[in-house]
Symmetry: C2
Amino acid sequence: MSSPRVTVVPYLDIINEGDDFPIPQQNVNKWITTKKAHYDLRVNGVEPPVGIVHPTVVDALREQPGWDINDTADFRTITIEGNDEASRSEAVARTFASLRGMDKFVVLSRWRDELKPAYGPNNEILFNVERAAVPLLGIVSYGVQLSVYSYDVDTKLPRIWISKRSMTTANYPGLLDNTTAGGCRTGEDPFESVVREAKEEASLPDDVVRSSARACGTIGYFHFRDDKAIGETYLLQPEIEFLYEMELPDGVQPETNDHEVEWFQLWDVEMIKDGLTQRLFKPSYTLVIVDFFVRHGVLTPSNEPDYVDIVSRLHRVLEFPMMKCRI
Amino acid sequence: MSSPRVTVVPYLDIINEGDDFPIPQQNVNKWITTKKAHYDLRVNGVEPPVGIVHPTVVDALREQPGWDINDTADFRTITIEGNDEASRSEAVARTFASLRGMDKFVVLSRWRDELKPAYGPNNEILFNVERAAVPLLGIVSYGVQLSVYSYDVDTKLPRIWISKRSMTTANYPGLLDNTTAGGCRTGEDPFESVVREAKEEASLPDDVVRSSARACGTIGYFHFRDDKAIGETYLLQPEIEFLYEMELPDGVQPETNDHEVEWFQLWDVEMIKDGLTQRLFKPSYTLVIVDFFVRHGVLTPSNEPDYVDIVSRLHRVLEFPMMKCRI
């Protein structure tokens, strides 16, 4: 039923690279020490913290109005002042416009003019922040992923439509990525994000995606920005990706539409394994591939010794308030 | 595409009931306090601890030879003496035979004459222990789950073959359960456990299961034994279930074979949701159902506010050495 195993992929290494913030269950002291090496991002009256900020960023924010910094607490804190979303968002906007003007952080050179929300524990938006500044505050990012696939009738194994990110995209230029992936807009149902992105990026018709795409889970991870991204590599990115998949109906295939994608290619399992081993994929997408392989029975307890660790680690519980889906 | 939503299932409540040991990312002090209210089960020279033991059990083990107890450590410990698997297994066997004879613990009244392994960090078996005594030591249990399903052509929704546990089973008598579920034998490939259990419990032919069943993930949870089980409710059970699913080929259906199952019935999504709300299912199986609903697009970001929390929580990272699958 399965083809000969050609490539041995170091799946657990790949997960450790993408989800590299310490795991409390594995080493609680290292987890606490790493948190104490940073500052909890707080909003007055709100529990728990909503982000995690590197001391270098705290030092830059120290010189900006609107931030209250406690350097002596057991877990050090930086609190955004303001009593409502509007006043906090204004302080945040003023701060990062100022830092952008000063060329303080490379990540701000990729300014998008797109706001991202920081959610509180009751799904209230505590403030909005320019997308390029999100890693400076270490708040949770939410994305959507659509894996478009078909089954090979001979091998009975799935193949996935892989995209190549253009060299001009703001982040991770030139890396390989999912058929479609993108950010959730504030208040947008993740499924609507998928429909929108699939059309914009892959020319996939609305009606096809609406009738054939299916939600199939999430992945969660917490990682230090790496050198495949543009900008500071010490910044922290806790992320949740909403996963969707779609078996391709006859006569439809993804096609490039905007400047974000260089090409689409249908890759079989061995090609993808080879790409994983060579680290050709955007780090977040590597985790999405591993979850796809788990759900589709490519990666199994019968062929992977670290199966239990791998599946658990794909779904990290984050210590920040989680976005609630809107019904 | 989906039928009208009849039952609103409190999915997150159900997960909180099945996975009720504190979550470090949510409340690290409560997690540490709860651990400190117990004893770490240790083996000399091995990190990390392999189980978690309630003080009542520690007091019973204090009177038995072979156990070294430290009541003053920051995290209190109980260490099984012995330098190899054989000597530790012998001490464990002697201990629980003695406690069984003294009627110390109700769980030991369900003695199975079946050994379960405690794995070390390199997949070495540290010791074996009678299955009925596993919750007394709080070591990780490993099980397999096979969900046999078919799709309703009208609603395009899945239906699952549900089993009713007989009133004479050792644990959770009379509750509803998956088509097939069972424990992994020491050293057995989980897929082979599935093939064996599917035949024993549901009369499903070997060749059908081998050609059609597919691995699709795991769930992990850490719970206090509840009053639906037989025996002490304060005992801790960290568990991993290997998940498999099989779309039923024409002409095949599960049939009772042994005394463990009272009946099989094909339940649709609304019946299952109703059963979840009424808590008709074995607690571990409720989590398997939720994961099935996630993978099959029944539970989605568009119909469940707590979707992100739910998916993460189904895959708990446990603080004990994980069994490696044998290739």
